[in-house]
């Protein structure tokens, strides 16, 4: 009885979570005619890819924003992983004057909200003449994030000292030690940071909205938003766009969900 009740409530939660996704994806696979003439709950009949074809066609050209978003995410991902590993290693395993003060400063910058930095960064980037460029999209994030450094530092602190000493005795320099010892034993946490970084920057909206204009460097979120405001009655096309903006991440998340779930509990409990 109690078990059945629990399952019922859990299933209700699942329906409430999934229904909007399923309805909007179903709409993305309907022809505009079927969408206009039949009730919402009828499944796509027949399912059509015409919305996606049109979305990636000449008129809406979603190929470009998808490619820009992918490039931005890849460059930020590589930069964040490399530079966060560097910084976290220094904070976790080296002793040097100013370490604790610097780490405190890094942590303090977690409190700086994005909406506060966009105006001054816009001014600086405009002065430098790099507004509306690829670099404008990646520069603020590519040098590592305080969150990532914090996450890795906690993990690196737990690596047995013997392991690092052995590498040093073998004559390995710092970079070799990091690459051959630290990185291999830290794979789970690096995977976690990688997913968090991909999710954050695939989803980023406010900064790209502000710093780019026109189609050239438009990312997916900005393109989706522009599509919504221009064609907000063509819901089949708009839902195809949200599907493209959402689906790749869902797949990544479902493939690696254990890492993400664990990372949340790590940062939650310290």
């Amino acid at each position: 009885m109690r078990t059945a009740g629990t399952y019922l409530l859990l299933a209700l939660g699942a329906v409430a979570t999934l229904a909007p996704f399923l309805l909007s994806v179903a709409t993305a696979f309907k022809s505009p005619r079927q969408f206009a003439s039949e009730p919402v709950l009828t499944p796509p009949d027949p399912p059509t890819l015409s919305n996606f074809a049109e979305l990636f066609g000449e008129r809406y050209d979603f190929v470009a924003p998808t490619a820009v978003t992918a490039q931005v995410v890849v460059v930020i991902l590589v930069g964040q992983l490399v530079f966060s590993v560097f910084a976290a290693y220094a904070f976790a395993r080296l002793s040097f004057p100013g370490r604790d003060a610097l780490f405190w400063l890094y942590l303090a910058t977690l409190m700086v909200p994005q909406v506060v930095t966009i105006i001054p960064l816009y001014a600086v980037f405009a002065d430098l003449g790099i507004r509306n460029t690829f670099w404008a999209l990646v520069l603020p994030y590519v040098f590592g994030s305080p969150y990532g450094i914090f996450l890795l530092r906690e993990y690196f602190k737990g690596i047995p000292g013997d392991l690092l000493d052995a590498a040093k005795l073998d004559g390995a320099g710092t970079l070799r030690t990091i690459w051959h010892v630290v990185v291999p034993v830290s794979r789970p946490i690096l995977a976690t940071l990688a997913i968090i970084t991909v999710v954050t920057h695939w989803n980023n909206f406010l900064w790209p909205l502000v710093i780019t204009s026109g189609r050239q460097w438009q990312v997916l979120t900005v393109a989706t938003s522009a599509l919504q405001s221009q064609y907000n009655s063509n819901w089949t096309i708009v839902m195809a766009a949200t599907t493209i903006a959402i689906l790749p991440l869902m797949i990544v998340f479902l493939a690696f969900q254990r890492h993400v779930v664990r990372s949340i509990t790590i940062t939650g409990f310290r």
Binding site: F35, F96, P97, A123, V142, F143, S229, A241, A245, I246
Partner: protein, 290 residues
């Protein structure tokens, strides 16, 4: 000699992130303070105007209104998602088969772009051809009605975040040793008593952590509100503070005034963090999570 070398290595390793954090997180705070004393329209030259922007923002009233609107938004979203998240976590932690799958499923909205979710929900809540009105068979202006717009936007936010909150509570519940509950059961405590007297007090560190981080994050809401109710919504009822700053700077082109607002928001959020940290530090005596 060795020490000096270690210091050199450390600073070489730190150089990129020091540059990044200095240039893109610390320097902007200084620049925004300078911009607050200038008049700028995003294109032309900047001119020094002293405290004119502060006076203009204070006289305008829309900024204060947006702060109140945001506080109201937080006051709806936080209690709702905390209670729902806790209930979900309690259900998920009964040790039933399939719980892990439900837990992952509930987190799905949280990993999606808030902007894309906002666009998706703007269809679900659309008046004539939206999914919700089709299902209930009535035409309700969820997002265009000045009374309904704010609760609707808040509901979408709660829907997005409940699974994430549940994840924390779920971990917190697992950290409570079974022996504590067993002892209480031997003493004849009812499930209800055990929840109020044991579970809830032992969850206090989790609860505080969730409240602190979520209040700060929710206060900065922008993407989903922008997609659901552009330009501050009907009669400006969903004009949240992050949106106010964005519109002021990039649509009104009153950058100086937007910079003043940004500074005020920054100071406010730091104050909230500091106060809550203090309170948090004093109240964590129940921590059994290790």
């Amino acid at each position: 000699m060795r020490r000096r070398q270690e210091t050199r290595t450390a600073y070489l390793l730190l150089a990129p992130s020091l540059f990044g954090i200095g240039a893109f997180l610390v320097l902007p705070i200084l620049v925004v303070a300078v911009l607050a004393t200038q008049r700028w329209d995003l294109i032309g030259p900047r001119t020094f105007v002293g405290f004119d922007n502060v006076v203009a923002v204070a006289a305008d009233g829309r900024f204060v209104r947006s702060l109140l609107i945001t506080a109201g938004f937080v006051a709806i979203v936080i209690p709702a998602q905390t209670v729902l998240g806790l209930v979900a976590a309690l259900l998920l932690n009964r040790g039933l088969r399939g719980s892990a799958a439900f837990r992952v499923l509930y987190v799905l909205p949280w990993i999606c772009a808030p902007l894309a979710l906002g666009v998706m929900w703007s269809w679900v809540l659309a008046p004539t051809d939206g999914a919700l009105n089709a299902l209930i068979g009535r035409r309700v202006e969820w997002l265009a009605d000045p009374v309904l717009a704010m609760p609707s936007v808040a509901a979408v936010t709660v829907w997005t975040q409940v699974g994430y909150v549940a994840l924390f509570f779920s971990a917190g519940l697992r950290a409570i040793p079974d022996t504590v509950h067993e002892a209480a059961m031997l003493d004849g405590a009812s499930p209800w008593q055990r929840f109020w007297r044991i579970t809830l007090p032992l969850l206090r560190p989790t609860t505080f952590f969730v409240l602190v981080t979520q209040i700060i994050a929710t206060f900065q809401v922008f993407d989903s509100v922008y997609a659901l109710t552009p330009d501050g919504g009907p009669q400006g009822v969903t004009d949240v503070v992050a949106g106010r700053i964005y519109y002021e700077a990039f649509e009104q082109r009153a950058v100086g005034q937007a910079a003043v607002m940004a500074l005020v928001l920054f100071v406010l959020l730091v104050a909230v963090t500091v106060v809550q940290q203090r309170w948090f530090a004093r109240r964590t005596t129940y921590d059994l999570s290790t």
